[in-house]
């Protein structure tokens, strides 16, 4: 049985991803600050904050030990905040970076250590079209995801020798709690800037992830794929 570790599985895209891979016969190790919302024999939940180093190390090591090896990591947990730059509180900016950047950093680091031993592995990080679109009101969110892109590209070079690929998917807006606060005019204006003007779906994201996870994609690494024709 293949094993996948997905962060942020309580709701939204992460939950849908977890259910998809459970349906496909994978063992799924998921986490979120809140309690599990998935019940399945092959689902293992850890309540943690992705920026808590000790908790991340403990989760990754216990997942690797129990499963015999982690085949894939999806760094999905993420938070956003819409604010004019001048009105962005420092604690908000910090927590965006803690979850999106440092959370991805910790999971990449710890999971790559275990994948190195197996000389194979797939890591997929989460970017966003807000970065290439330079979306007003999302400076700190877009900046955090720009950092995630840099980590993706550089880590790919540092672990390539061990057969580990590192890529990122950059979704367009998908109807989840993350974007609930965005006004409909803002959303329309955003969709207008895409080549294909519609909301994204989990299937759109899954298609890109499945491509990255495919055995035949062993030579695809360090790439950021945006959806909707952005970038």
């Amino acid at each position: 049985m293949k094993t996948i570790l997905i962060t942020g599985t309580r709701k939204g895209i992460g939950k849908a991803l977890a259910e998809h891979y459970l349906g496909g016969g994978w063992a799924v190790y998921g986490c979120s600050r809140g309690k599990a919302s998935i019940e399945h024999g092959n689902y293992h939940h850890f309540c943690l904050d992705v920026s808590d180093e000790e908790a991340v190390v403990a989760m990754v090591r216990s997942a690797a030990r129990e499963s015999g090896g982690i085949d894939a990591l999806l760094n999905n947990a993420g938070i956003a905040s819409m604010n004019h730059f001048l009105l962005t509180p420092y604690p908000t900016a910090r927590s965006i970076f803690e979850t999106n950047v440092f959370g991805s950093f910790l999971f990449c680091r710890e999971v790559a250590k275990t994948m190195r031993r197996l000389k194979t592995g797939r890591i997929v990080n989460f970017a966003t079209v807000a970065t290439p679109l330079r979306l007003e009101g999302e400076a700190m969110y877009a900046a955090s995801k720009a950092a995630v892109e840099s980590i993706t590209r550089i880590l790919a070079r540092e672990v390539g020798e061990w057969g580990i690929t590192v890529n990122a998917v950059g979704p367009t807006p998908v109807a989840t709690d993350l974007i609930r606060g965005v006004s409909s005019e803002k959303m329309e204006a955003l969709l207008d800037r895409q080549a294909i003007r519609r909301m994204g779906t989990v299937e759109d994201i899954l298609n890109v992830i499945d491509f990255f996870l495919d055995k035949r994609s062993a030579f695809v690494t360090g790439q950021v794929v945006y959806l909707g024709g952005v970038g």
Partner: protein, 98 residues
Amino acid sequence: MLEQVEELVFETLREFGANENITGLDNPTVETFLYGDGGVLDSLALVSLISDLEMKLEERFGVQLTLADERAMSRKQSPFRTAGALAEFVREALVSYS
């Protein structure tokens, strides 16, 4: 305790040398040069060795240490210079962990 830790470090070095085909690690002593001038490890091998050692520490002592912490990286005397320095560094890390 240092002796126990040294034995664990040597064991990890021996296994690591065998797995990665690195000569000079089949019979390590405290003086074996690991990293830097005259050392048997390049930087990528050092990264791998440290993460193997972290796993070994967990298997053996049930501790979850991250060895490449700020203390290790900011020392004047690199803890990765010789097998002996590495063992002493691991011992200190274990002490501060407990």
